[in-house]
């Protein structure tokens, strides 16, 4: 109710000077909204600021648990240490390459698949949707997947990461719904003016779909950037690993999976400093965080406003 009211008041606010003041209900909504969202911001920002503070602190302040929001004993030694490791940069480069290539492939395949599915007159559309939906509920399993990918000869190559994850059914359905909501008149008009099917997709539909494409780029890019599991399964050489695996080994490996019955193999007891872990987290998260502001502008205004009149 509040939302509906709010929207109404926005419209009125924009169209006429007659009621310039927002309603009381809307103001209450704004306050509540602001309070809740501030809470969310604090809750999500705090751990991140904490990690940044830890990354710039001296190790013994971390040990004593004295680092909160501000670095203690400011030091960039850990940054120097991490950035001096060539393997870190190799893996970092891999992550960038894997993300860019995989996202590109994923966007092309998802867009074309979703566009086809959005056409109600397509014969066999039910089957095509069914094939996609099936993978949402059923899965070959870890070992069959591994056997498939390795028998296709994809292991130790980027394709082991890019191809099996190229279509996320969830993203596919979101895109399909978006395409279905596009007014069919636009496409009819384009067809009348002599555009082919591909022409319609390329010149009419895609320019109108920047919002959804941007969303999908973001979804895919974030998931490829964060993913480590496919790389873990299919990559047997360290210089092919993405930086997320470097990070995971640093953090999860340091706490030791071998703690059985107190028998730890002798060579394994080295510890990775907490500052090093923090620095690696910061450096890994930063780039993907920076992508958000650039894509955000596509979310702000709906592209569809006023496209069809009458």
């Amino acid at each position: 109710m509040i939302v509906a009211e709010a929207r109404e008041s926005v419209v009125q606010h924009r169209t006429g000077p007659r009621r310039a003041r927002p309603t009381r209900g809307y103001r209450v909504f704004q306050v509540v909204n602001a309070v809740i969202l501030t809470g969310v911001v604090v809750a999500t920002l705090y751990p991140f600021v904490n990690i940044v503070a830890r990354s710039f602190s001296e190790e013994h302040y971390l040990i004593m648990g004295e680092v909160n929001l501000v670095p203690r004993g400011f030091s960039t030694a850990a940054y120097k240490y991490v950035t001096a490791d060539p393997m870190f940069w190799t893996n970092y480069r891999n992550t960038v390459v894997y993300t860019v290539v995989s996202t590109f492939i994923a966007i092309v395949l998802t867009t074309t698949y979703a566009y086809v599915l959005s056409k109600k007159h397509l014969r066999g559309r039910g089957v095509l949707i069914g094939v996609a939906m099936l993978t949402l509920f059923f899965n070959g399993g870890l070992i069959p997947n591994y056997v498939l990918v390795s028998n296709l000869g994809l292991t130790n190559s980027i394709w082991a990461i890019a191809l099996p994850n190229a279509i996320s059914v969830f993203n596919l359905l979101v895109m399909k719904a978006f395409f279905e909501s596009l007014p069919v008149e636009l496409e009819e008009a384009a067809a009348v003016d002599g555009l082919s099917t591909y022409g319609i997709l390329w010149r009419i539909v895609l320019p109108l779909s920047k919002a959804v494409v941007a969303t999908m780029v973001l979804f895919y890019a974030v998931s490829f950037w964060n993913s480590w599991f496919s790389a873990f399964l299919y990559m047997d050489q360290q210089d092919l690993w993405p930086v997320t695996m470097y990070l995971r080994n640093l953090i999860a490996g340091a706490t030791g999976t071998d703690m059985t019955a107190g028998t730890i193999a002798e060579g394994d007891q080295l510890q990775v400093a907490a500052t090093i872990q923090s620095v690696t987290i910061v450096l890994t998260v930063l780039p993907i965080l920076l992508v958000y502001p650039f894509i955000q502008r596509y979310f702000v205004s709906g592209v569809m406003i006023g496209a069809v009149k009458g």
Binding site: I63, G141, G262, E266, Q269
Partner: protein, 549 residues
């Protein structure tokens, strides 16, 4: 996020399912016979290879090996270890590099998919049991005649009883464990010796003395919890409960086993129902009740316990040789410079002076596919040399003379001045593990005390000297289970363990009074313990009849 987790969970479930299918599908493989003809598989092998011989393949060979990459010293393919190994043995290791964080999972996938490398090190017993039925791994016990050093070490150190525990229902073992000459007990408690001195206290020798010592500390510092412990993940109180259990003659914490052998009745009994188990709980409950043991000890993260110690809020903590040197002492040096910290001898209890450590440790599985390789014999000789010969162990640990170590006039080994390892040569610019690849957990297990303790500090060697004088704890008789039995046991084991652990904590923390012990015993019976213990005793009898010693 949630979606991804759910998908992961589904994937794991599906993989378990498919693994079981694969296992049942392949379990009808033919049995390798003893004394089978290996002459077709000797390419590259040495004609005469025995104890004391340097192994060198007659032609250059390559063996695929699963290679755990430790975060603290990530794998590098230009390690001197690898180059020198090739030079000495003519063998090149072809690594499948796996991050240490998820080693076991990928090992499972590779073996399940039939893509496992020939050599699969760093496997902890009983992990190998999961792969036996699939026929994917080699029953190595059929081939130990190819391994003179292994046989020699087992015989010389009388490791047969320990090794028997690794045998499966078919009487074979599938894992080549690391062999220690002496049990190596690393874990114990560490205490602030400056506080002991200040309060005029001696180092406690028994758990009762630990109690009085902590009590004296509490009296002097009423605001503290004298003992705030760590190593509680994933097993609550993993180390502490383990150590106290050993002293009382039972098994808890890390060392928990559902069934324990009772030498007086010659039968297995349910561990969680043993009177000794109750005594252990009573002791710890007393510590908690009197404020001597921080109740958070059983749930807190290691770092939290470290912080309390560093801030002077606690004075005692579980330790091993490394955490003492790498964590507690440096922490304290920065926060309380006057503090002194050292290991106390493993406190003893009603069972007297025993050394609880096992003389076997993680070991090597071999892929069944390796058996069909024409280089099979050479590979077994290579494994025998690198992991089990004195020369191989010395090489994997110390490296190359003149580069990583020097011998002094009496023949004692010393690190070269510019090489550092576990902080022994702080000024050294090169690192034994990171830069050279020696002293790598994948290749270094066990051996003579001189080798095991090579990089121990003087005080740790002193500690081990006393520990070595204690008699090794008696080993339970083996009770190998058949596949069906193991499946059944798995179903009983986990709920039983969860129940025992949860109730143990409630007793220790005082949430459940000790007077309810009998009620607890009744509840235990509801966890199928009777069938479980009967099955174990039956399996033990069956093994005994089949292998009368």
């Amino acid at each position: 996020m949630l979606r991804r987790y759910r998908r992961r969970a589904a994937m794991v479930a599906a993989s378990v399912l498919s693994l079981t299918l694969a296992l049942t599908a392949c379990s009808s493989g033919e049995e390798p016979q003893k004394g089978e003809d290996l002459s077709a598989f000797r390419v590259g092998a040495m004609e005469k290879y025995g104890v004391g011989d340097q192994f060198k393949a007659t032609e250059s060979l390559k063996f695929s090996t699963m290679m755990l990459s430790n975060a603290a010293y990530p794998f590098k393919d230009d390690w001197l270890f690898l180059k020198e190994l090739t030079k000495r043995t003519n063998i090149t290791i072809d690594p499948v590099v796996i991050p240490g964080s998820d080693y076991n999972q990928k090992r499972g996938v590779l073996i399940g998919a039939g893509d496992a490398p020939f050599i699969i090190p760093k496997t902890y017993h009983p992990d190998e049991n999961a792969f036996i039925a699939s026929g994917a791994i080699l029953p190595v016990s059929d081939y130990i005649d190819l391994m003179p050093n292994f046989k020699d070490k087992v015989a010389r150190n009388k490791l047969e009883p320990e090794l028997n525990q690794f045998r499966a229902a078919d009487g074979k073992f599938y894992l080549l464990p690391g062999l220690h000459e002496k049990p190596w007990q690393d874990y114990t408690l560490a205490m602030r010796t400056d506080i002991l001195q200040q309060l005029n206290l001696q180092m406690p020798k028994t758990w009762d003395e630990v109690y009085t010592t902590l009590k004296a500390m509490k009296t002097a510092y009423p605001d503290s919890y004298p003992l705030s412990d760590r190593f509680s993940k994933p097993t609550p109180g993993g180390n502490l409960i383990n150590l106290v259990s050993i002293a009382y003659g039972t098994r808890g914490g890390w060392g928990y086993q559902p069934m324990t052998y009772d030498a007086s009745t010659k039968k297995f009994v349910v561990t969680g129902a043993m009177p000794q188990y109750k005594q252990m709980l009573e002791f710890l409950a007393k510590l908690v009740k009197e404020g001597l043991l921080d109740p958070e000890s059983f749930t807190q993260a290691d770092d939290a316990a470290r912080q309390k110690l560093a801030n002077g809020k606690s004075f005692a903590i579980s330790t091993n040789a490394q955490t003492l040197v790498n964590e507690y002492r440096p922490d304290l040096a920065k926060t309380i410079p006057a503090a002194k910290m050292s290991k106390i001898l493993l406190p003893i209890g009603p069972t007297g002076e025993v050394n609880p450590a096992s003389r076997l440790e993680s070991g090597i599985m071999i892929s069944k596919k390796a058996r069909d390789s024409k280089n099979f014999v050479a590979m077994m000789q290579f494994i025998d040399w690198l992991w089990y010969s004195d020369a191989g162990q010395e090489f994997a640990k110390w490296g190359v003379e003149g580069v990583t170590y020097q011998k002094d006039s009496s023949g004692k080994f010393k690190l070269t001045p510019d090489v550092n390892v576990v902080g022994l040569n702080p000024a050294g610019t090169k690192h034994m593990q990171k830069d050279f690849g020696f002293y790598n957990g994948v290749f270094v297990y066990g051996g003579k005390p001189e080798i095991v303790q090579a990089f121990f500090s003087a005080e740790e060697q002193e500690f081990q000297k006393v520990m070595n004088a204690r008699k090794p704890v008696a080993v339970d008789p083996p009770y190998p289970l058949t596949d069906e039995e193991r499946e059944q046991v798995t179903l009983w084991e986990t709920p039983l363990k969860d129940f025992v652990f949860a109730q143990s904590l409630r007793f220790i923390l005082g949430q459940r009074p000790m007077t309810e012990w009998d009620a607890y015993l009744t509840e235990l019976k509801g966890k199928n313990t009777q069938q479980f213990v009967d099955l174990v005793n039956k399996a033990a009898d069956r093994y005994k009849t089949a292998h009368p010693s």
